[in-house]
Structure formats: structure tokens, C-alpha cells
């Protein structure tokens, strides 16, 4: 290293000081890529960490936990496990749910048995002591305990009231005590309230059911006897109820968010790819500009290895700086993202309320190392080039470029091969539920098109030369000469720009197609005139009581009512939804489009008469189920196998849903009421009129949210747009980085070609013409980048729609290109690149011919 150290000053530090702008841009480029990745990893890690922490806190001292696959654990299960008590095992039941509060906050509600619960979870009151009397305060109906920070946030004190939406009305709960933020109160980052189990069951409309039974095992139990105990417990459990380690639920949540995370991470990687272009570009420019200096230090005895290490170190240094900056930026982005989705009650990816940002070391390290390693990798080529500078001869730039030009055709051939491999990679199915080959195909397209960039630049330049000179004058030829003359630089800029553009085009095509598909689907499925749901929306507790269903059934002016009921189930740890509706209503209206295009009315009628199930497309893809196959549902009286009558399209839920007729559902799961209802009106009755009648009939007893067809459709699309807002942000970042790349390339070209610009001035070219030539270069770079980007983006969009989306979510999406959006966005890119040419163009125009020619 001592041989390398003296080279840092002359070869790196001083030139860096001279090129501060380019240096800063490079660091920023890496930072943006790393930030995107870090934000995604951190947001995911935070969601999981806070969920896992909650699982830990809620599980407390439990050695085993009993959970249900189906709608709940029947209370009788406690009696079946009573034999455990004489063996020193404490049985602690609980129910839990996420609830929307009156003010819009979202909290967890844990229903506990105050007598047994202290055995597994700790409760500390502000009075600094735990007395059973204080815990017993929640025996009183509708009383809750609130952690101090939450009480402070909501302005609560002992005796004050807390509004919560449950069972279609606003329920007032009384604060019976304030808990210190310790023990159980730390669950869900303190956004949790505790009620007596009976209060909670009534709020959740879950009378007779439990969500969990925690088993506290005697101390000093050996592993063998513990396993034997677990086995005995398993044997005494009813069907659909399982026992295991408490932490297994974290794995379920992990699986839930995995597809989402993998998709976002892939997008983040592409952003990083664009960022690392900067390292390559900056370093290869450095090497070119310091060629003479390198020759000099080599002549003075520096080894080629030392020179190689110096430039590799520069790449590493840029990588470290950019990555560190990226981590800070990414943490901020993750925090903002969590705040944005954590506060809303609509997001379906968050398993619980308001996770806080966890700076998980593994996520940070992964993002940092990815940034550093890609920086070093992209520094390899320039560092090798530096190491090969011959101290004896000063190579002419032209001859270096000439050797590069010979690589154009082999590179293009390699690019074509990669594109062919990309096509092959679209064929295989998912690996472990993830579309790994699909992502490989996306990256192969990016790599293949990048390799085609030099070919595209030279071909376009040569073929357009004469026409361009006729149309635009000699400036076009000067621009062309610069573009092909510094192919190593311009082709890389074009590749980077095309990467950014392709990402934008692909995501726009994917999201646009998805949106168009959802719009179609919404208009096919949301055909009812009115939709009734409890106030508080999807996070309202419990269900609308059966009384509401009957009331609407009998309401004058209402032609038909389709009540929706569902619960979350798991099979082998994989979550899915069991839902129900009135198949007779669906069969009459046919508003449930089938994935294979078969007749909805006939399929649903058959399912109704034969007691068969319908499954959603994501369910069919995820579990590999086809019409005619059997699905097993966790009915309360034991598993029930139903034949699948058909697969319907559903974009509202990627977990997958098994839907059965309401009568069958109520028989299997003994659940009544409705989560929401779709109403069709008698012709001539206006939605407004019906709405008034419903409100009049329920006034004072139920808090209902009644939406017309149009407003529900709008809400559905608004939710869609909010879900995909982050992807637009990502693509905007990628394009911005790529445009910065064009700026940095042009700047480098101008700096490098000062002599030639001076010469042009001597030959009588005006400053305006020199500057115009630079702008033409920018236009050509942007046109080529856009052209290749559209090509790659179209291919990637196709892969995202038909391979990645299909394999990760099971959704069939029809391609629908958002032409208007694309034209607008690409127009902006052209304007941005032309604007980016401003400073380099002015710099070129200001070149002092006499001074630069004197430098020889």
C-alpha cells in the first residue's frame, strides 16, 4: 500500500478538487440508487420488525400458542385443554383486531382475561405498581386500558371516552386506566388498547371465539417433554386449530409482504444500475483526462498494479460516500413512506397499525454493500484501462477509440444473444412462488439493450449524417463527430438514459395496463346501485348485524341485496380469504367475470345448486387450483372439501379468495351479518332516494357509510392510484438520474474536446454554432436513449405484465399502453436533456481558442 499512497495526491485528490461538480453528481447518482433500495428494505424490515416485536410482546412468556386456521378458536377449546392446568400450564385466552378510531387513528385492540393474563404478559400502571384491582377495572363493560403515550397523543385521561367504530355504530369506550409503556403496552409500538375479552368479543362480533390461547409452560421443562406436551395439546385440539411456537405468525406476515417487497427491490436495483453508470462514466473520464499524469507517474516507477489500485480505490471511495448518503436519504424516504401508509386505514399490505422506522442493520448493510460493490465493479474497466497506460508513448485518443470501435459489432452480437436469453427466461414458471426468471428476463433486456447502445450510436450517426448536415447544417456533423468520436462515453450515456427511460416506459405500461384492467373490472363487478358498509370502512370492528341485512331486504325500493361476509384463513401458514355472497343475486346479474371468459350466470348457478365454491384468480394461481379440483375449508365442525366450479377475476386482493354461497358459508362458519352490502334498486328509485330511506330506517342505531356506484368506483381507483404512487416516484428518480448522466457526459465531452472546439473557432465557427453543436449532441443522445428505452421498456412492460405480475399476484392484465402519459413524460425527458445541455453548451461557446491552442 505504501507504493500506492503517494499516487493518491497527483492522480486523485487534486483532479477531484478540479472536477467538484462531476464528483458531486457521481456521489448523488449512487446515493439515489442506494437510497431507493435502502428505503424499500428498511420499510419492509420495519413493518416486519414491528410486527415481530408485537408478536413477541403479545406472546410474552408463552412457550406455545394455539391459533386457528379458520374463523377462530371455539371457546370450548379451553375446556378441552383443561387437563393442562394440573400439570402447571397456564392457559391464557385472547382476541385481537385492528380498529379505526373516531379521529381516524388506527390501533390494535387486545381482549384479555384480567385474571389469567398477568401470567403471560406484564402490565404496569402509572402508579408504578401492578395491582389486580387496577387490571380488574376492565371487567366493567366497554372499559379499556390505554398506554400513556397513546393517551397523551389522543388527549385521554382516566375516565375519558374513546370512540371506536364497531358493528355499524360508533361505540364509546371508557378509559379505565393508563398503562406505563412497558410489557404488553409496548405491542404495536404502543398503539394498542386493552379490554376485557367479553367486551372485545362483543365489539368484534366474535362471541364464542378466541384468536389465541397462550400456554405458559412450567419452568425447567426439558425439550423432550415439551415436544411430547405439544403433541398431546395438538391431539386435544378441534379441527382447524393448531399449536406451535408463538413466532410462527411472523413468517406468515413475511410471506404476505414478500411479493410486494421483491417487486419493489427489483425496481430499486434498476435505479441503482442507472446510478452506477455515473461511477463508470466519471472514472473513465478521469482516466482519459489524467492519461499524461498516469504516464508520468509510471515513468517515475509506479507499477501498473499501483495505478490500478488507485483508480479502484477512487471507485470504492465514491461508492462509500454515495452509499452512506444513500442510507441517510433512504431512511428518510422509508420513514415518510411508513408515515404515509401507516396512518391510513385502507392499506392492505400493513399487517398492523403504524409501524415505526426500524434501522435494521441487515437492511442497511445490504443496501450499503450493494452500492459499494456495484461502484467497485463499475470502476474495474476504467482502472484496468489506467493500468495499461504505456509510460513510453502517449496514445492518441483516436486510436484508443478506434480499438473500442472494433468492439461495437461483437458487443451488439452479445446484446442480441442476451435479448434471446431474455425471451427464453419468460418461459419457466415461478420459483418458490417468486417470478425469479421473470426478473432475470427484465435484467437481460436491460443488459442486452445496453450492449446494443454503441452499435445504435454509430449506425444512427453514420446513416443520418448527410441528411442531418443538409437539414441542420455543419453543426450536425460536428455533433455527429463528437458522438462517434467518444463512443466509450456517449454509448454509455445512451445506455444509461435508455435504462431510465425503459424503466419509466415499462412501469407506465404495466401500471397503465393494470389500471385499465381494473377500470374494466370495476365497471363489470361494481354494478349495484348502492353500497352499504359500516362507518370506519374496512377497519371498522365486527360486522353489520343480521338486523341490518333483514332491514335492507325489506326496504321498499330495494330490488336485491348481496351481503358480503369474509374472514382471513391460513393453510400451512399461507394466508387467504374465505368470502361469501348470495349466489342467487350474482347468478341473476352476472357481475363476477370469469377468468376463462366462461358464462358467469351458468357457473354461479351451478355452484349454487351443487354447493360448490368459486375461487379468485390469485387463489387459483397461488395454490395451483383449477375448476373441478377440490379446496378444503376450515369449517367449525371440521374441514370441508368443496369442488371448484369456476375461477373469477379479482384485483382487490392478492392473497386469493375462496367464495361460497351465503347459506353454505353460514352453515360452515356460523357467522351472520355482513361486512358490506351491495344493493340493486327497483327501476325508478333514485340512489339518493334509497339512501335517504336507508338512513331514515337506521338513524340513531347504526353508523353506515352509503356510497353510490360512482363514488365507490372513484374510491377504488383512488386507492389504486395511491398504491402505485411510489412506483411513479421511483421511475421519476431513474429518469432524473439518467438526465443528469447526459449532463455529465456532455460536460465531459466539452472539457475533453476543448482543443477541437478551439480549432473550430479558428476555422471560423462562431460561438453560437459551437454551442448549437453541443445542443444537437444532447438531442441525439436523448433521441437514441429514448428510442432504445422505448424498445426495452415495451419488452420489460410485457414481461412485468405477463410474467412477473402473473406469477407473483396471479392477476391477468390486458395490455393497454398509456400513450398520452408516455408522450408527455418522454417530451419532458427531451426538454430536460436539452436543458441539461445548457451549461456544457455555454462552456463550449466560451472556449478561448488562442489559449487552448497554446496548450500544445
Amino acid at each position: 500500500m505504501s507504493r500506492v499512497a503517494p499516487l493518491f495526491g497527483p492522480l486523485l485528490l487534486r483532479p477531484l478538487r478540479r472536477d467538484r461538480l462531476r464528483f458531486a453528481l457521481t456521489v448523488a447518482g449512487i446515493a439515489v440508487g442506494v437510497a431507493t433500495m435502502a428505503a424499500i428494505l428498511l420499510a419492509n424490515a420495519s413493518v416486519l420488525a414491528s410486527f415481530a416485536a408485537t408478536v413477541d410482546v403479545v406472546a410474552g412468556k408463552a412457550g406455545l400458542t394455539v391459533l386457528a386456521d379458520g374463523p377462530g378458536i371455539p371457546e370450548e377449546t379451553l375446556a378441552r385443554l383443561a387437563w393442562l392446568r394440573p400439570r402447571g400450564v397456564a392457559l391464557v385466552p385472547a382476541v385481537s383486531a385492528t380498529a379505526a378510531l373516531e379521529g381516524g387513528d388506527v390501533v390494535e385492540i387486545l381482549g384479555i382475561d384480567p385474571v389469567t393474563d398477568p401470567a403471560v404478559r406484564d402490565y404496569r400502571f402509572s402508579a408504578d405498581e401492578t395491582t389486580l384491582r387496577q387490571l380488574f377495572a376492565i371487567f366493567q363493560k366497554d372499559s379499556v386500558l390505554v398506554p400513556a403515550p397513546l393517551a397523551e397523543r389522543l388527549g385521554l385521561s382516566e375516565g375519558s371516552e374513546l370512540g371506536v367504530f364497531a358493528g355499524g355504530s360508533l361505540r364509546r369506550l371508557r378509559v379505565a386506566g393508563i398503562l406505563r409503556l412497558e410489557g404488553a403496552a409496548r405491542a404495536a409500538a404502543g398503539s394498542i388498547v386493552f379490554a376485557d375479552i367479553a367486551t372485545a368479543q362483543e365489539l368484534f362480533a366474535r362471541e364464542g371465539f378466541l384468536d389465541r390461547i397462550d400456554l405458559v409452560l412450567p419452568q425447567g421443562l426439558e425439550a423432550a417433554s415439551r415436544a411430547a406436551l405439544e403433541e398431546s395439546v395438538r391431539e386435544s385440539l378441534p379441527a382447524g386449530v393448531t399449536v406451535g411456537r408463538p413466532e410462527r405468525r411472523t413468517a406468515t406476515v413475511d410471506r404476505m409482504v414478500r411479493s410486494f417487497r421483491v417487486n419493489l427491490t427489483a425496481l430499486g436495483l434498476i435505479a441503482l444500475l442507472v446510478g452506477t453508470y455515473f461511477v463508470y462514466s466519471t472514472l473513465s473520464i478521469s482516466v482519459l483526462r489524467r492519461r499524461t499524469d498516469i504516464g508520468t507517474v509510471r515513468a517515475l516507477g509506479a507499477s501498473s498494479r499501483a495505478v490500478f489500485l488507485v483508480f479502484l480505490a477512487e471507485g470504492a471511495a465514491l461508492g462509500v460516500l454515495g452509499s452512506l448518503l444513500g442510507l441517510a436519504l433512504g431512511a428518510g424516504m422509508a420513514k415518510a413512506a411508513l408515515a404515509a401508509v401507516g396512518g391510513t386505514a385502507t392499506d392492505f399490505y400493513l399487517p398492523q397499525a403504524s409501524p415505526s422506522l426500524a434501522l435494521e442493520p441487515r437492511a442497511l448493510l445490504t443496501a450499503f454493500l450493494t452500492g459499494l460493490v456495484t461502484s467497485i465493479l463499475s470502476a474495474l474497466a476504467p482502472a484496468l484501462e489506467a493500468a495499461h497506460v504505456d509510460p513510453a508513448t502517449t496514445l492518441r485518443h483516436g486510436s484508443v477509440e478506434a480499438s473500442r470501435r472494433r468492439a461495437v459489432n461483437p458487443l451488439a452480437a452479445a446484446g442480441v444473444v442476451l435479448l434471446f436469453l431474455a425471451a427464453l427466461a419468460t418461459r419457466p414458471g415461478p420459483v418458490g412462488g417468486l417470478p425469479l426468471f421473470g426478473f432475470a428476463a427484465v435484467f437481460l433486456v436491460v443488459a442486452g439493450v445496453s450492449l446494443l447502445a454503441p452499435f445504435a450510436v454509430t449506425e444512427a450517426a453514420l446513416r443520418s449524417d448527410r441528411l442531418a448536415v443538409r437539414l441542420l447544417g455543419v453543426e450536425a456533423r460536428i455533433a455527429r463527430a463528437n458522438l462517434t468520436g467518444s463512443l466509450s462515453r456517449t454509448a454509455v450515456a445512451v445506455a444509461a438514459l435508455s435504462m431510465g427511460i425503459s424503466m419509466m416506459v415499462a412501469v407506465a405500461v404495466m401500471v397503465g395496463s393494470f389500471r385499465a384492467t381494473v377500470v374494466d373490472w370495476v365497471s363489470e363487478t361494481l354494478k349495484a346501485d348502492l353500497f352499504v358498509a359500516p362507518e370506519g370502512g374496512s377497519r371498522a370492528l365486527g360486522r353489520l348485524p343480521e338486523e341490518v341485512v333483514g332491514l335492507l331486504d325489506r326496504l321498499p325500493g330495494v330490488a336485491s341485496v348481496d351481503p358480503f361476509l369474509s374472514f382471513e384463513a391460513t393453510t400451512g401458514g399461507v394466508p387467504y380469504t374465505v368470502g361469501s355472497g348470495r349466489f342467487a343475486v350474482v347468478a341473476a346479474h352476472g357481475d363476477l367475470p370469469m377468468a376463462d371468459g366462461s358464462d358467469t350466470r351458468e357457473t354461479v348457478r351451478r355452484a349454487l345448486t351443487r354447493n360448490e365454491a368459486l375461487v379468485s384468480e390469485p387463489y387459483a394461481v397461488k395454490f395451483g387450483v383449477r375448476p373441478g379440483d377440490l379446496v378444503t375449508l376450515p369449517a367449525l365442525d371440521g374441514p370441508v372439501a368443496l369442488r371448484v366450479a369456476g375461477v373469477y377475476r379479482d384485483y382487490s386482493n392478492d392473497r386469493g379468495t375462496v367464495t361460497v354461497d351465503r347459506a353454505l358459508f353460514q352453515r360452515l362458519f356460523r357467522m351472520d351479518g355482513a361486512k358490506s352490502l351491495a344493493l340493486r334498486l327497483v327501476p325508478g328509485v333514485s340512489p339518493e332516494e334509497a339512501r335517504r330511506r336507508i338512513l331514515a330506517a337506521t338513524r340513531g342505531r347504526f353508523a353506515l357509510r352509503i356510497q353510490t356506484n360512482a363514488s365507490l368506483r372513484d374510491a377504488a381507483l383512488a386507492l389504486f392510484d395511491r398504491t402505485f404512487a411510489v412506483t411513479y416516484a421511483l421511475e421519476a428518480v431513474a429518469v432524473a438520474v439518467a438526465v443528469l448522466g447526459v449532463f455529465s457526459t456532455l460536460l465531459a465531452l466539452v472539457l475533453e474536446r476543448r482543443r477541437e472546439i478551439g480549432l473550430l473557432r479558428v476555422l471560423g465557427a462562431s460561438a453560437a454554432r459551437v454551442s448549437r453543436a453541443v445542443r444537437y449532441e444532447a438531442a441525439a443522445l436523448s433521441a437514441l436513449g429514448i428510442g432504445l428505452g422505448i424498445f426495452a421498456g415495451a419488452a420489460m412492460g410485457w414481461i412485468l405484465i405477463h410474467v412477473v405480475n402473473k406469477q407473483s399476484f396471479g392477476w391477468t392484465i390486458r395490455t393497454d399502453v398509456p400513450w398520452g402519459f408516455l408522450a408527455g413524460a418522454l417530451g419532458l425527458v427531451v426538454l430536460a436533456t436539452l436543458a441539461a445541455a445548457g451549461r456544457p453548451a455555454r462552456l463550449a461557446a466560451a472556449t478561448d481558442a488562442a489559449a487552448v491552442l497554446k496548450e500544445e
Binding site: 483516436g398 447544417g473 455543419v474 456533423r477 463527430a481 477541437e756 471560423g764 462562431s766
Partner: protein, 229 residues
């Protein structure tokens, strides 16, 4: 026709960056005066740093004198607008350099056609005239070659073709043989003197080679910014 050049008491002073007082400025030209008649072939002889390049830059309107005047065909170059200076370099004064200064990313033909295109001559005519100019310097077969595919002598001949293609009346040559072996240098000088004789172009040839200077009809010796004719 060649240009008439009148240089009257020209001084050119550079700031050296040192504090004020002695040595704060360096005098590249210390009051130089001479007159060239149309068709004159003048050698500007002197050691490195004597002010030859500075004088050529002034004659090429790349720079303005600190004091004094440079008149070409009666026009004071200092008084020309930026556009006028661009026009002057395109049509009146052409330069040949020691290091050829061909644009490395253009072919010979494109390099030679460049001044014509800059002057708004249509592409087809520019190409035809550039081809003819390359034939005149003996390189008709090298039209499609890039500079890095040519020898030094060939590059300088392309540079001569480029300098003369727009039919300038003044040719400024800055050490045109300085970077060539003696045989190639001879050929380039032959070429320049023949073309000049045929067209009556006024030539200023800056050199420190006395052999090169021997071809000139008149020799100006420059030392420390002063003429010692």
C-alpha cells in the same frame, strides 16, 4: 489575390500573476511594425517564446493587441465584431499548425469540407471542392480515412488542403514542419510554396528552421518580442 498586411507598433502584454511592480507583466511583443504586400512569402524566424505564435494569433484575429494596430486589406482587425472575426477566419485568414489539428473524429474529406460548410456552401459542392483540394495535395485516395489512419506528413497535407480550400488570401503557418521528419517537411513546404505561387496568397510562416526560412522571399527575425530584420 493575396492580402495586404500592415502591422503598426503592436504590443502584447500578459499578466504573469505576480504582484504589481517588476515582473508583474510579461511583454510578448514589444512594438512590432512591418508591412506585407499581396503574395509575399515571409518567414518569421526566432527561438521558442520569442512571440511568433502571439503574432500569428493577432494576424488570425484570435487575439487583440494591447496597443497598436493590425490591418488586413485596410481593415483593422481589432475593430471587427465577433461575427466579423468569425467571417475573417472563414474567408480571409487560414491557419496550418505544427500539430496538424485535424478533427480526429472526421474523415479527411469531412475535415477539408468543414470550412466550406461553415461558410454555408451546400454539402454536395463542399464535398466536391474538398475532394479536389485533397487531390491537389496528392491524397485523392485518402478521402475516407480518419486522421489516426494517416502518417504525420499525410495529416499535414490534409491540414494544408483544409487551409486552402476556402481560397483564403492569407495563410498563417505555425511551425508546419516542426513535427515532421525532414522528407515529409520538404514535401509539405513544396506544396505550400507551389500553391501559394499559383494563387498569389500571402504567407506568414513561423519557424525556427533556417532551411524552411530559405524558401521565403523575405525573413523577419523575432527575438524577445522585437523585430531584428
Amino acid at each position: 489575390m493575396g492580402a495586404k498586411v500592415e502591422v503598426e507598433g503592436v504590443r502584447k502584454v500578459w499578466g504573469t500573476g505576480r504582484p504589481e511592480g517588476e515582473g508583474a507583466v510579461s511583454e510578448a511583443l514589444a512594438g512590432v511594425s512591418f508591412t506585407l504586400e499581396p503574395g509575399d512569402f515571409v518567414a518569421l524566424l526566432g527561438p521558442s517564446g520569442c512571440g511568433k505564435s502571439t503574432l500569428l494569433n493577432l494576424l488570425g484575429a484570435l487575439d487583440r493587441p494591447t496597443s497598436g494596430r493590425v490591418l488586413v486589406d485596410g481593415r483593422d482587425l481589432s475593430l471587427l465584431s465577433d461575427t466579423g472575426r468569425d467571417l475573417y477566419r472563414r474567408r480571409t485568414a487560414a491557419t496550418v499548425f505544427q500539430f496538424f489539428n485535424l478533427l480526429p473524429t472526421m474523415t479527411s474529406l469531412e475535415n477539408v469540407a468543414l470550412p466550406l460548410l461553415l461558410d454555408g456552401i451546400p454539402l454536395a459542392e463542399a464535398d466536391a471542392r474538398a475532394g479536389a483540394a485533397l487531390a491537389e495535395v496528392g491524397l485523392p485516395e485518402k478521402t475516407g480515412s480518419f486522421p489516426w489512419q494517416l502518417s504525420g506528413g499525410q495529416m499535414q497535407r490534409v491540414a494544408v488542403a483544409r487551409a486552402l480550400v476556402a481560397r483564403p488570401s492569407l495563410l498563417l503557418a505555425d511551425e508546419p514542419t516542426g513535427n515532421l521528419d525532414s522528407r515529409s517537411g520538404e514535401r509539405v513546404l513544396d506544396l505550400v510554396s507551389n500553391l501559394v505561387a499559383a494563387r498569389g496568397v500571402t504567407i506568414v510562416l513561423a519557424t525556427h528552421s533556417t532551411e524552411a526560412a530559405a524558401r521565403a522571399s523575405r525573413v523577419l527575425r523575432l527575438r524577445d518580442g522585437r523585430l531584428e530584420e
